[in-house]
Amino acid sequence: MKCKVCGKEAVSAYCKFHEGAYENLVKGYEEWKRALNLSWKEYLNGVISNEYSGSWVKEVAEQLLKSEG
């Protein structure tokens, strides 16, 4: 299986780097939702435009936005 973001070898949908980023992204949503009452899509856009977000997290968020339309 290839990573959906970078095309590297992967056991699941993502390589181990992007998998870690994906897990953090999912965990982070709970806190963003509590703080700002955002939808998942608004959250992903928020993460992409945030200067402190890691680049792997941004890549995963972009990939999710694309795939979820």
Binding site: F17, G20, A21, N24, L25, K27, G28, E31, W32, R34, A35, L36, V47, N50, Y52, S53, G54, S55, W56, V57
Partner: protein, 696 residues
């Protein structure tokens, strides 16, 4: 060459040390300077004839006993002159020849290199190999400064033999490092070469691998970081005509709605002081500098990398201005004579009043730290004043060492912190003040103290205060901080890997191999891939625990509680399966690394974003027709941008990652043989272009 008369041959580590020792030991203070084939040596008279000859750091190194560079594993090694192993060490041959010749007429041998692992090993190898087995008869000079007094004392009180335990520990360290470095670097380099057919040096080492692994771990945390929103409430109060910032009781507010409610409740309200808390605290003087803390302080105040600080400190040591800097000690024993040092320093205008103030005290007792070093005390000024003008960096480091030395004898500083609690419509705000009551040791160390006073007017419980402004501040949590060369060195120290002498060089190697970049360290793709390969196929060689364990065993050799042979066998036991793992997967590893090298090479050619189209990157490209190089936009291949600029065809080009002061376009550095490197702005309309052309 020295005459036929018999003499004592004194071996030093570097030419500057030879000169210092010759001057100190010669009765007239004027030794005769000689040179043979450009190798300097000195003749001095001190009751008998002395010949003082320097090494040039390590003259001998570990080499593969026999065979080519194209295979691994290699476990058979020997010690040999460096010119046999390194291409750019040809001058070492002459050096060894001259020392060997001088040794022929010597009747006594004295080892006077620095008293630590490296120094002891340097002198030992010279005595054993260049002086034909004189290491057993040689005596040892032990000193921590190159001052005349200490050198004379060290010569009068020669140790009857060499410090063999220290030498054994130094030898083992070099041998273990060679086994790791040669085998692992060859495994990586050969895997990449066999896959791509191209040669590119890839290296790793016993300490280099685990160090890079810390960085990769931190980089992973940063790249996977999701910032979490939170809010702060900031406010200002007006008291007796002055405005002060106050802090809300809760530092992090987790929802915007809650923050907005607080702002609304406090806006335009008057508060009441409910409590004024005063606290006094004593700040003890700092402890004397060991090498690590000197490097950390120099990075913090001057931005010098650990390696730069070490090299400046070594120059100051060779000028007899400070004591030996490669020390782990935070102790200053009375034998160094505090009063003599302070009395000499008081002759310098800048330190006169401070040093005299200390000299007036009946007792001088330094505030020492816990760390000890059996070979040397902490870094301290010798009291000698510069004979020649110092460079600015030398002046700074010397000043830092002098002021730190005086500060450790100072009284504790007494400071006061004030917290005023104020209730505003049921919400609590804090006003903080701080001031110095007694400056104590800080007056000695003043330029290097970061403390800002916030003075408050007298305030009473029950007093009313007017809130001028209350605002909601939107914040996000920050990713973990990147390491910088100084914090990475501290991390290596804390983890117990590497030695005080090698840590700074290991960090520089990571930069020079292209595994890391920038002051706030960023791991490159190549760095990631190298660690990924090592982690997957031979995790033991990047294991911090195993590295620390080996480090501790090597330390034990120095105390005679561990044997060199055992440690070497243990290193081989770790390496053997690791190398087998790498060999088995050579093809896969080769593919990963070749790909990473290719990407790194492309990255090296990227100059910056294209100023014309704004979306592409400018890159150094080569014309298919003429083979000439030029700058082109990466969007050219998509048919979107045709921007191109000519480039000089001679010399090597390197993007500087800096912009031109006049036009803000990216700058390039050109290095050509026989010319000084020069900066180059390729913008044809750069306002400075005409001026540059006129100058050239």
């Amino acid at each position: 060459m020295a005459g036929m008369e018999k003499y004592a041959l004194i071996i030093t580590e570097k030419p500057e040390a030879a000169q210092r020792i010759a001057q100190a030991l010669d009765y007239g203070g004027k030794p005769e300077k000689n040179a043979e084939k450009k190798v300097p040596y000195f003749r001095a008279h001190r009751g008998k004839e002395l010949v003082i000859v320097p090494a040039l750091g390590h003259l001998y190194t570990v080499v593969h006993e026999q065979g080519t560079r194209n295979y691994y594993p290699v476990f058979n090694f020997k010690w040999a002159p460096r010119y046999l192993a390194e291409r750019n060490a040809k001058n070492i041959r002459t050096w060894v020849e001259v020392i060997s010749k001088l040794a022929q007429n010597a009747e006594e041998f004295i080892h006077a290199c620095d008293y630590d692992l490296e120094g002891s090993l340097i002198g030992y190898c010279v005595l054993k190999y260049a002086c034909q087995g004189k290491e057993k008869d040689a005596k040892r000079m032990k000193f921590s400064t190159l001052t005349k007094e200490e050198l004379e004392k060290a010569y009068e009180e020669l140790l009857p033999q060499l410090d063999f335990e220290q030498i054994e520990a130094g030898k083992t360290r070099h041998e273990v490092d060679w086994l790791y470095g040669v085998n692992l670097s060859r495994a990586l380099t050969l895997a990449a070469k066999r896959w791509s057919g191209r040669y590119a040096t890839l290296s790793t080492g016993r300490v280099q691998g685990p160090t890079l692994k810390f960085l990769v771990g931190r980089e992973g945390d940063i790249q996977s970081f999701v910032p979490i929103p939170y809010w702060e409430v900031g406010a200002e109060v007006e008291i007796q005509g002055s405005v002060y910032k106050v802090e809300y009781e809760k530092k992090k507010i987790e929802s915007r709605a809650e923050a907005e409610a607080i702002v609304e409740a406090c806006q335009g309200k008057t508060g009441e002081i409910t409590e004024v808390e005063l606290k006094e605290f004593r700040q003890t003087p700092p402890v004397p500098f060991d090498l690590g803390s000197l490097q950390a302080e120099a990075y913090s105040f001057f931005g010098y990398t650990p390696r730069r600080t070490l090299s400046i400190a070594e120059r100051l040591y060779l000028q007899a201005l400070i004591s030996y800097p490669r020390t782990s000690s935070q102790k200053l024993p009375p034998v160094i004579n505090y009063r003599t040092i302070l009395s000499s320093l008081s002759k310098e205008r800048n330190y006169k009043n401070l040093a005299q103030g200390l000299l007036e005290r009946a007792e001088l007792k330094p505030n020492e730290g816990k760390k000890e070093d059996p070979a040397h005390p902490a870094v301290y000024p010798t009291g000698n004043l510069p004979e020649n003008p110092l460079s600015d960096p030398e002046k700074r480091i010397w000043d830092l060492v002098v002021r730190r030395f005086m500060a450790v004898f100072g009284e504790p500083a007494v400071k006061q912190s004030i917290r005023v609690n104020m209730d505003v419509n049921g919400h609590l705000f804090y006003l903080h003040g701080r001031r110095v009551l007694e400056d104590g040791w800080t007056r000695f160390y003043e330029p290097y103290i970061k403390f800002e006073e916030v003075l408050l007017p007298p305030l009473q419980k029950g007093e009313k205060v007017q809130l001028r402004k209350v605002v909601r501040e939107d914040k996000f949590t920050n990713p973990p901080a990147r390491y910088n060369p100084s914090s990475l060195l501290k991390k290596m120290e804390d983890e117990g890997i590497g030695t005080k002498a090698t840590r700074a060089d290991i960090i520089e190697t990571l930069y020079s191999r292209g595994y890391i970049a920038d002051r706030r360290i960023v791991v490159t793709n190549l760095g990631f891939d190298v660690i990924e390969v090592l982690n997957e196929y031979c995790p033991n060689v990047v294991s911090v625990e195993l590295t620390r364990d080996l480090e501790e065993k090597m330390e034990k050799i120095q105390n005679n509680s561990e044997k060199r042979e055992k440690v070497l066998l243990e290193a081989v036991d770790i390496l053997k399966p690791a190398l087998e793992g790498l060999k088995e997967r050579e093809e896969t590893i080769g593919e990963v690394l070749s790909d990473a090298i290719k990407r790194a090479k492309i990255q090296e050619r990227i100059i910056g974003s294209c100023p014309q189209c704004g979306t592409g990157n400018l890159m150094i490209l080569f014309s298919r027709k003429t083979g000439k190089r030029f700058i082109g936009c990466t969007n050219y291949f998509k048919g979107l941008c045709k921007t191109s600029f000519p480039l000089p065809q001679r010399g090597t080009l390197k993007p500087m990652q800096k912009s031109c002061n006049a036009c803000d376009w990216p700058l390039l550095e050109v290095r050509a043989k026989g010319r000084r490197p020069w900066r180059f702005c390729f913008n044809p309309n750069c306002p400075l272009r005409e001026a540059r052309e006129k100058r050239s």
